[in-house]
Symmetry: D2
Amino acid sequence: MMSGNLNFEVSRLGECTIPSPMRGVRFVGDEEHVLFNSDLNSIRRYLDAGNEPPRFETAGPREKIFFDPSKLACGIVTCGGLCPGLNDVIRAIVLSLHHHYGVRTIYGFPYGYEGLAPKHGHQPIMLNPQVVAQINEMGGTMLGSSRGNQDVSIMVDTLERMGIGVLFCIGGDGTQRGALDISEEAGKRGLKLSVIGIPKTIDNDVSYVQKTFGFETAVSEAKKATHAAHSEAAGARNGIGLVKLMGRDSGFIAAYSVLVDSQVTFCLIPEVPFALGGLLGALKKRLEQRSHAVIVVAEGAGQELFEASGERDASGNIKYGDIGTYLRDAIRDYFRRIGMEINLKYIDPSYMIRSQPANPHDSAFCLLMGHNAVHAGMAGRTGMIVGFWNHQFTHVPIPLAVSTRKKIDPTGWVWSSVLASTGQPAVMK
Amino acid sequence: MMSGNLNFEVSRLGECTIPSPMRGVRFVGDEEHVLFNSDLNSIRRYLDAGNEPPRFETAGPREKIFFDPSKLACGIVTCGGLCPGLNDVIRAIVLSLHHHYGVRTIYGFPYGYEGLAPKHGHQPIMLNPQVVAQINEMGGTMLGSSRGNQDVSIMVDTLERMGIGVLFCIGGDGTQRGALDISEEAGKRGLKLSVIGIPKTIDNDVSYVQKTFGFETAVSEAKKATHAAHSEAAGARNGIGLVKLMGRDSGFIAAYSVLVDSQVTFCLIPEVPFALGGLLGALKKRLEQRSHAVIVVAEGAGQELFEASGERDASGNIKYGDIGTYLRDAIRDYFRRIGMEINLKYIDPSYMIRSQPANPHDSAFCLLMGHNAVHAGMAGRTGMIVGFWNHQFTHVPIPLAVSTRKKIDPTGWVWSSVLASTGQPAVMK
Amino acid sequence: MMSGNLNFEVSRLGECTIPSPMRGVRFVGDEEHVLFNSDLNSIRRYLDAGNEPPRFETAGPREKIFFDPSKLACGIVTCGGLCPGLNDVIRAIVLSLHHHYGVRTIYGFPYGYEGLAPKHGHQPIMLNPQVVAQINEMGGTMLGSSRGNQDVSIMVDTLERMGIGVLFCIGGDGTQRGALDISEEAGKRGLKLSVIGIPKTIDNDVSYVQKTFGFETAVSEAKKATHAAHSEAAGARNGIGLVKLMGRDSGFIAAYSVLVDSQVTFCLIPEVPFALGGLLGALKKRLEQRSHAVIVVAEGAGQELFEASGERDASGNIKYGDIGTYLRDAIRDYFRRIGMEINLKYIDPSYMIRSQPANPHDSAFCLLMGHNAVHAGMAGRTGMIVGFWNHQFTHVPIPLAVSTRKKIDPTGWVWSSVLASTGQPAVMK
Amino acid sequence: MMSGNLNFEVSRLGECTIPSPMRGVRFVGDEEHVLFNSDLNSIRRYLDAGNEPPRFETAGPREKIFFDPSKLACGIVTCGGLCPGLNDVIRAIVLSLHHHYGVRTIYGFPYGYEGLAPKHGHQPIMLNPQVVAQINEMGGTMLGSSRGNQDVSIMVDTLERMGIGVLFCIGGDGTQRGALDISEEAGKRGLKLSVIGIPKTIDNDVSYVQKTFGFETAVSEAKKATHAAHSEAAGARNGIGLVKLMGRDSGFIAAYSVLVDSQVTFCLIPEVPFALGGLLGALKKRLEQRSHAVIVVAEGAGQELFEASGERDASGNIKYGDIGTYLRDAIRDYFRRIGMEINLKYIDPSYMIRSQPANPHDSAFCLLMGHNAVHAGMAGRTGMIVGFWNHQFTHVPIPLAVSTRKKIDPTGWVWSSVLASTGQPAVMK
C-alpha cells in the first residue's frame, strides 16, 4: 500500500519564535510522531536498510508559534458537497482561534473558492464565537459551498490583499489540491501564508487518515434508509428495496450499512465488480426462497456496466453512470421479461444523509479536528491536512494525502463480515 | 360539505345478546352519539325541519355483544401502501380480542386481499399476543400488503370456509369499498360476518374522520426532508431544495410541513392550482432576493399541467403525472434558458416516511383505534369504519366515509397560515 | 362535569372598527361558535328549557380589529415550569403580529411576571422575526420563567408606562388567574389592555380545552424512560423499574405512557387511589410469575399516603409528597423485610421531558395556537385563553378555564385500556 | 504508563489443527501483531536493549482452528451494569458461531455468573440466529445480568457438565477477573475450555483498549441531559443545571459531553480534584456574570470530599459517595447561606443512558467485536479479551487488561479542550 519514498514531511513557513498564549497544556514537541506502520517487521525493514520508517508529525499545540495572534487574520472556506459536521469544524476553528490564541479577525469566505474570486461578488462574513455559537445544531455549511477551483493567482491576490495569514480549507481531494496550489503560489510570492486542509469526505476514503468527520453520522442515517427499504420489501410480495448510498470510489458507507442492518441481502461496492446477470440470478433465487430482498448499492459500484463518457463535473471528478436508476430499470425489465411480478421501491437518501448535523460523538471529533487545524496553522505549517492515525491527530502533507484513495479490501475483514451478513454470493458473474 | 340525506346509520348483524366479558368498564349505550355539526344553527335547521341532525354512533365496548368469544374466529388484512402505525393497529386488534374478550383464533391474511384468494397460495398467519408483542417497533406491516381487490365471491368463500366472524380491513378508500362488497356479499349469503374497516390514509384525507393514524408521524418525518432541502439550498449559490411529499388529493402533509418548518418558501398542493410560469417567476424573484429557496410539492399538485392519461394503478386510482420530476426538469430548463446558474437538489422521501414506525403519541392513537374496531366487531356492527370526531371515537358507515374526500380549504385557516409562513404569492399565474 | 350557569362569554375591550390588514383569508364572524356538548340530548335539554346551549366563541382572524397595528405595542411572558413548545408559541405570536398585522413593537418580559415588576431589574427583550427565527429548535423558553405572581398594581403600572396594548401570558392555572387580575385591574383603570392567555400544562389537564401544547411531545419522551425502565428491570433478577412522570392532579401522561409502551405493568395516577399494601402484594405476585416489573407513577398519585403538610410552592400549588422516592424506599423496605432480593432502578425523567423542544406535529399545533392568540388580541378580546375544542380553536373565558381540572375518568375508556395493557388489579387495597 | 515486563502473550489451549470452514477470507497469521507504541524512540529503546517491543496479537480468523465446530458447545454470559450494545455483542457472537463456523449449540446463561451456579436455578437459553435476530434494536441484555462472581469451582463444574468448549464473558474488570479464574481452574482440571472476554465499560476506561462498545452511544445520549440542563438553567433566574454522568474512575463521558455541548460551564472528573469552596466561588462568579450555569459531574469525581467508608458493592467495587446529590445539597446550602436565590435542577440520566440500544455506528463496532471474539475462541485462545488498538482488533491477556485503568490526562489534549470550552478555572481550590 505504501512505498518507502513517499514524503511524510510537512512544510513550514519558518521558525516558530512567539510564545503560545495557551496555558496549562502539555505542548507537543516537533519531534513527536506517529508511526505509519504498526508491525515490527515493516519497521525493521526500514531500519535494516538504514532508513527512517515513515511517520506522521503529531498534531497539537506548540510551545512556540509562528504567527503573532494580535496581528493575524485568518480565513475559512468550505468546498464541495455537504457532509455532516461542516458547521462543527467551522465553529471549532473559530472557537480555538478566539479562545486559545486570541485571534480577533476571522473571515468566512462564502461559497467555497468562489468566495476568493472577486468576480463572483461574494462578501466575506466576519466570524466570532457569537456567530458560530449554535451552527453545529444545523446541517449544511453556514458559509455555503461550491464545486471546483478558481484561478490560483486571483485567489492568492485576494488573500494577499486581505492580509490573511492562515487559510483553512475544508473539502475533499480536489479542494486539497487547490489548497496546495494556493500554498505553493503564496510561497513563490514570498507570502507568509499557512494553508491548512481539513479532509472532508463522507466516504471516509482518504488514505493516510483512518477516520474522517461525518462518516459515523452518515452510517447512522443510512440505517434509516435500509430500514425503510426492508419495511417496503417485506410489506409486498416479491418486494425489493433498492437503496443507493454514497461511495464513489470506496464502499465504506454501503459496507457499514450492512454491518448495522442485517436485513440487507445484497451489497454492491466499487471495489468488488459484479456482472448484471449474476446479480439478477442471485436476486431471483433469493425472492424464490424468501420473497423479499434489500439491495444496497454504492454510487460508484458497477461502473464497468457503463460505457466511459469521459465527462467530468465541476469538481473535476469523472461523471459516473447512475447505477441506482440503472439497476432499478434493469431489475424491473428482467423480472418483466421472465414474467415474475415484483414490487421494487427505489430509495436515494443521499441528500438527506449528507445534510444532517453531525451526531454527538462525531461532533466531538469535529471539534478536536478543528482545534488541531488551528494549532497547525498557528505553528506555521502549510500545505498539509489534519489526519487521524492510530488514535492520534496528525499532520499529513497534501501530496501524500491525495496520492491514493483508501478502499475496502475485498479479501479483508470488513468485506468478509459483509458477505457473512448478507449471504450474497462472493462472486456474482 | 354535507347534505342532509347522507346516511349515518351503521348496519348491524343482529341483536346483541351475549354479556361482554369486560369488567369494570363504563359500557357505551347504543343511543350514545357524536353530533356531526358543532354549531347551533346547523342543528336548529335540522330540528326546525323536523329532522334529526346527522350524528355518528359513539364507539366503545357494549354491555351485550353479538359474538360468543369462545367460538369466534377473526381475520385481519392490511391493504395498499405502507403507513406508520399499521403494525400498531394489528397489535391493538390482537391484544383487545385476546385480553378484552378472550378470543383465541385470529388469522392474519398475508398480502392484503390476495390473502383471501386461494390462487395466490398465501398461508394465513396465526396471531396472538406473543407474535405481535414488539411489532409496533418496526415500520411496515407484518402481514404484508397488496394493492387492489380480489373477486368478492372467492374472498367470501374463503371467509365462510374458515368460519370467520369478524374481518378487520385496514386500508384506504379502495380497500373500504372492497370491505363493503365483502360485507354485502356475506349478507346476501346470510353469513354472520362483521366487516370492520380501519381507515388508513397517511394523507389524512378521509371525510367524516378528523384524524387518521400515521399522519402525525408523517408530519414529523417530513421535517427531516425539508430540513435537508434547506441545508442543501442554503449551502449553494442559488440553491433550490425541492421536496415531493405525499398527498394525492389533499395537501395536508405538505401544508403541515410548512407549519413545522418555516424555511419552506413555496408550498404546492392539489387544492390550489398554479401556473408553471407563475411559479417560475416567483422563484426567480426569491432567488434574486435571498439566493436560495425551498419548495414543497404534494404529489397530487399541479396535475392540471399534465394531459390526462386515463391510466389507473392496481388500486384503481388514476395514475398521476410525476409532478416532482416534472418540476425539477422544468425549473432546470427555465434557469438554463435565462442563463441563471442554479443548484437544484430534488428529494423524494416518500418511502422513508411511510415505512417509519408510528411515533409514540400516534402509536397510542392506533391502540385506541384498534380497540374500538374490536368493540364494534364484537357488537356485530358491519360495513363501517372506526372514525374520530370531536375528540371521540365513532362508527362511520363505509358508503358515507368513501363518499367524498377531506381537503384543505384554500380560504381557510390552515392555508392562510401556510401562505403567511412561506410568503409565496397567494396566486401564481 | 358542566353546569348550565357557567359563563362562556368572553370579554371585549370595545367595538372592532379597524379593517384587518390580512388578505385573502376567510374571516371568522363573531357569531361563529363551537358547541360545548356533542350529543343531541344535552343540547335539547337547554333548548327545551329556553336556554342557549353552552358554546365557545370560534377563534380566528376578524375582518375588523380593535387595535391599530401601527400604534400597537405588545408584550409576552412565560410563567411556571418548562413545557415543550414554549419557544414555538413565542415565535408564533411574534411572527403573526409581525407578518399578519404589521405590529413592530413586541417586548418579551424576562422571567415571567417578575419581568413586569421593576424591583427585579429585568430588562425587556425586543422581539422580531429574526430574533425568534430558530428558537423553536431549542427546548425551554428564550424569555426565562419564574413561578408565582407579582403585585398586580405594580405590573399594570409597568404595562401602562410602556403602553402595552396586548399582553400574552403563557402559563398554567396560576398564571391565568394572574392574567385575569391584570385584565381586571386594567379595566378598572380604563386602560385598553387585552390580556390573552395561552394555556400551558404539560399534564393536559385544563378543562374546556381538549388538547394543550407539549403533551404529545411529553408522551413521546416518556417512552424513553419506560423503555429504559423495562431494559433495567428485564436485565436483572427480580428487576423493578420505577418511573415517576408528571401529573399533579391528572394522570394523562402516565396513562398514555402505558398506551405507548405495553411493557409497563403498573400505572398509578391521582384519580385512582391505591393502598400501599395492595400494590406491594400485587408486585410480589408479578415478580414471582415473571421476575420483573415496570411501574409508572404520576407525581400526584398516592397523595393519600402522606399526611397533609399544607405547604405551598411559589406558584401557590400545594406541596405534594414525593411519591417517587417514597415508593422506591417502601418497595425496598418491603422486599428486604420478606427476604426477597430485588433490583430496583428509579428513574425520574421529568426535567429531561419538559425541557425538550416540541416534536414537529406538536410544533405545528403551537404555531396555530399562537396565531389564534394574536387574532384574539387584535380583536380586543381579553381575560380569555385560546382553547381547542372539537377540532377547532376557541376562546375560553379565564374564569371558566380555571374553574375545574380535566381528569381521567376511572370508569372511562382510557383507564380501561390502561388496565387491559398492564394487567394490574383494578383495585389495589 | 507501560512497563517493559508486562506480558502481552495470550494463552492457547493447544495446537490449531482443524481447517476453518470460512471461505474467501484473508486469514490472520499467528505472527501478525499490532505494536503497542506508535513512536520510534520507544521501539528503538526495546530493540537497543535486545528486547522485543510490546505488541498485541492481531485478532481475526485463523486458517486452522482448535475446535471442531460440529462437536462444539459454547456459552455466553453478560455481567455487571447495562451498557448500550450488549445485545449487539450477543447477537454478533451467535451469528458468527452459526454462520462463520457452523456451531449449532449455543447456550445463553441467564443473569451473569449466577447462570453458572445451579443454586440460583436459572435455566440456560438456547441461542440461534432466529432468537437473536432483532435483539439489537432493544437496550439492555436479553440474557439478564448480575453483579459479582460465583464460586469458581462450581461454575467450572457446570461448564464441564454441559461440555462447553468456549465461554464468552461480556463484562467489566471484575467479570474479566472472574473469567480468568474460570480459565485457570479449567486449565488445572485439564479441560479444553477457551474463555474469551469482551470488555464492557461504558466509561471507556480499559487500558490497552482504545475504544470500547457503548461509549459513542453514551456520549450521544448524555447530550440530551446536558441540553435539558441548559434549557432548565437558562429558563430560570440564577438557574443551575447539575448533571451527574457515569465515570467511576475516568471522566471520559463527562469530558466528551463538554466537547459535544459547549453550554456546559463546569466539568468535574475523578482525575482532577477540586475543593468545594473553589467550585462554589467560581459558580457564584459565573451566576453573577451570566445568571445561569451548567455543571457536569462524573460519578467518581470529588471522592476526596467524602470520608472513606470502605464498603464495597456486589461487584467488589468500593462504594463511592454520591457526588451528585452531595453537590446538589451543598450548592443549595451555600447560596441559601449567602442569601442568593438560585434555581437548581438536578438530573441523573445514568439509567436512561446505559439502557439505550447502541447507535448504528456503535452497533457495527459491536458486530466486529463479537466476530473477533468468536475467531479467538475457535482458535483456542483463552484468558484474553478482544481489544482495539491503532485501528485494529487485538488479543489482550486478561492480567494485562485489568492491571490498570485508562484515565484522562489532566495535562493532555482532551482536558485542555474541555477547559477551553467551559471556561472554568483550571484549578478550583
